[in-house]
């Protein structure tokens, strides 16, 4: 077994810092837009199949299925007439929205809500929700409150910890902040976010 390509096994071309792995991690951090692509292709296919049906019917000289292409063209040319302006404007708005959806999907970078973790052997990508849930657990034990009283929101560069203390029980924001910071330091996600702790002014009764 040790005789299989010993050279390549020892040069470690696939360590997390290698260009190959970095490319994989980059691809994992951004959306591939596969869903939007599938929707777009489906839309084009449906339109094409309908147009194909009508033109095939026309070629063999049969009556049209829904509308004859010539009649359709006449109606489109006459457009503001023959249809209530409200309906025309509304359908135009809907079509424009669909177009805007595809356009923005293509133009925006499509960053996913994920962070990278350091590891000597494997490349690790973590959804922000997982980080938030781990930090919430830590904040909850540090504050001594129940699960429902802590809400953590993780974004690219900021972690916001919202704590609603139990009424009559003093909660130290600094202690929560220190605990969350310590957990984050152990986790060391990249990019490393800042921590902000918000203590609600009104407490929860009977928690």
């Amino acid at each position: 077994m040790s005789q299989i390509d010993r050279d390549t096994a020892n040069t470690e071309p696939d360590a997390p810092g290698s260009p190959h792995m970095r490319r994989i991690l980059h691809r994992e951090s951004y959306s591939s837009r596969a869903g939007a692509a599938g929707l777009a292709a489906g839309l084009v296919i449906v339109l094409c199949v309908y147009a194909l049906l009508e033109s095939a019917v026309r070629v063999v000289g049969q009556p049209p299925w829904l509308i004859d292409p010539g009649t359709a063209a006449q109606r489109i040319i006459a457009l503001p007439q023959g249809i209530p302006p409200l309906l025309l404007g509304a359908s135009g708005g809907v079509i424009a929205m669909v177009g805007l959806f595809f356009l923005l999907n293509a133009v925006f970078p499509g960053r996913r809500a994920r962070h990278l973790l350091q590891d000597p052997r494997v490349a690790v990508v973590v959804d922000d929700e997982v980080i938030a849930s781990a930090l919430a657990r830590r904040a909850r034990t540090a504050a001594g409150v129940s699960q429902e009283q802590v809400m953590v929101v993780v974004s690219k560069r900021l972690v916001v910890v919202n704590v609603r203390p139990t009424s009559g029980v003093r909660v130290s924001g600094d202690a929560i902040s220190a605990a969350v910071r310590e957990e984050l330091a152990q986790m060391s996600p990249w990019p490393m976010p800042e921590v902000r702790v918000n203590l609600a002014t009104s407490g929860v009764i009977g928690a």
Binding site: M1, S2, Q3, I4, D5, A9, D14, H20, R23, I24, R27, E28, S32, A34, A37, G38, A40, V44, I45, C48, V49, A51, L52, S55, R58, V59, A73, Q74, I77, P80, P85, L88, G89, G92, G93, A96, V98, G99, F102, L103, N105, A106, V107, L117, D119, R121, V122, A123, V124, V125, D127, D128, V130, S133, A134, A136, R137, Q186, M187, S188
Partner: protein, 203 residues
């Protein structure tokens, strides 16, 4: 980690988005601005007249219909095939072999190790853990090289770095078994199942 053609996706989505947006805006303008309606009547009627003229010139000899309809049908079929090809490119890149190399020992022959070996081993090692809601392992080919993708879904509150460390140790053990280091991506996901399940209180 899969071979989805991202640049093609962006370009095609951009083209389609611009076109659909333009059609929608045109309809809105037609409904609201009378000047646009006037311009539209003149322009589109001219285009349609020219189109009818070409249809008349391209009739089948001895028949009423134009062969342009046939050409249009062919273009549509080509477009449909292109769209199906585009969709089939999404998420491709699954591989079967984890290792495929020459054994330069005394025995003749090649060495092939299927991806199922690593998939089954890692899955079995992760299946027993109480802090995971699910774990899936699959083999992908990235840039011509096989790689493993480990997708684990922890229960609420589980520290991701501790999980990553454990998986890293498992992968190192796998390395010694397989005899070669393959690139491994660990994706720790949050899913609906983890959200609604009870929190992990022991760890």
């Amino acid at each position: 980690m899969n071979g989805t053609p991202r640049i093609i996706n962006r370009i095609l989505l951009f083209i389609l988005g611009v076109k659909v947006l333009a059609i929608g805006l045109l309809l809105v303008l037609l409904a609201t601005v009378p000047a646009v309606a006037d311009w539209w009547h003149g322009w589109s009627a001219g285009v349609w007249a020219r189109a009818e003229e070409t249809f008349k010139q391209t009739r089948f000899p001895g028949r009423e219909e134009s062969w342009l309809w046939l050409a249009a049908a062919a273009v549509l079929v080509a477009l449909i095939i292109a769209m199906v090809a585009w969709v089939s490119q999404q998420g491709k890149g699954r591989a079967n072999l984890l290792v495929s190399g020459e054994d330069n020992g005394d025995v003749d022959g090649d060495v092939r190790i299927g991806g199922g070996v690593a998939e089954q081993a890692l899955k079995a090692a992760l299946a027993e853990r109480p802090d995971l809601a699910s774990a899936t392992v699959s083999t992908y080919e990235v840039g011509g090289r096989p790689g493993l993708r480990v997708r684990i879904q922890p229960r609420q509150g589980v520290a991701p770095h501790a999980l990553a460390e454990d998986v890293s140790r498992l992968v190192e053990a796998l390395d010694t078994v397989v005899g070669r280091r393959t690139p491994v991506l660990v994706h720790i996901v949050a899913g609906a199942r983890a959200k609604f399940a009870r929190a992990e209180r022991v760890r």
